[in-house]
């Protein structure tokens, strides 16, 4: 029945151990302890908290689409940024990425030149375009930074006729 090797293995590793000193103290002064059900509830609550934190933790996500309204909705959903991409703009949308810090990158092509524009919340609000540099501008509380093209060219993402640069 019992194999030769298994008996000694179990004998050795299941041997009796000495009870800890605190056992006598616990018997003399039984402390109230959480019932198993309560402990399990606490553990489940902890798991739920960790899972929620995990689910809510901002992470990078990408979205590939050529549809302006579809991409606008996706970026809005992920970052809260409203980038009014124009379906009539003479560009080809390639995709977008939402970053954990609440910013978004939109990839597009203009006359076969690839470009990216990074959109984030701006520290100040301006009603019309305020060009901070040749690659950055601020509009309605959002900053736009473009790479690959100049900032003014990036305006055609949303406007068919880009505004004049200050």
């Amino acid at each position: 029945m019992n194999k030769n090797w298994l008996g000694p293995l179990l004998d050795r590793n299941l041997r009796p151990v000495a009870a800890p000193e605190e056992l006598w103290e616990r018997v003399c002064d039984p402390r109230p302890r959480p019932k198993p059900v309560l402990r399990l509830r606490l553990a489940l609550a902890m798991i739920a908290a960790v899972a929620t934190a995990w689910a809510l933790h901002p992470r990078t996500a990408s979205f590939d689409s050529q549809g302006a309204s579809e991409m606008r909705a996706w970026v809005m959903d992920r970052t809260g940024l409203d980038v009014p991409l124009s379906p009539a703009a003479p560009i080809r949308l390639c995709g977008s990425t939402a970053f954990g810090n609440g910013s978004a990158e939109i990839r597009y092509k203009l006359r076969d030149r690839e470009a990216r524009i990074l959109v984030a919340k701006a520290e100040r609000y301006t009603q019309s375009h305020e060009f901070v540099s040749r690659t950055s501008s601020i509009l309605r509380g959002q900053s736009y930074t473009v790479s690959g093209l100049d900032a003014q060219t990036a305006c055609i993402l949303c406007h068919v006729d880009p505004p004049a640069m200050n």
Partner: protein, 186 residues
Amino acid sequence: MVLEGLDFEIIHACRRGEADAFRVLFEAYQDKVYSIALRYSGDRTTALDIAQDVFLKLLSSMQDFRGEAGFESWLYRLVVNRCLDYHRRSRRIRVMVEDALSAFTAPRETALHDLLRSEVEEQVQRSIDRLAPEQRIVVVLRYTEGMSYDQIAEILGCSMGTVASRLNRAHKALEKRLAPLRRMYE
């Protein structure tokens, strides 16, 4: 120290509420009770809880001990019942919770720590933990307490054939799970 046979003096003194007598009883059986609880539960805190409950139960139900069976058998029955009761209440959800928690927590122990805590003993305990409760308690009584089949049968209130059958099934399961350790003990 274990009381030899049925020490009526100690038992009667406990019944009269003599604290010193209970201390003698505790000293005599604390290691046995704790060892069974620890090997059965695989967890120090749980084992302390079980052992504490057993001695409190012993204290409160000493009047119920009539002496028909041996005192040790009666005490072992208290331990076994408490182990199985604890198991029934919490194990399934506890295992689920532990599994879920392990998915979120990084490994806490270094390889060196693993070695220090005796990897083999851990592996054996993990294999024991996975046995069905009725098989596990038989294995613990057999290997931790070195009991014979008829002693185990008396404590569990079943036949020796049942004990043998449970032990046989447990051995088969453990052989598979512990096969990597075979070379060390052949």
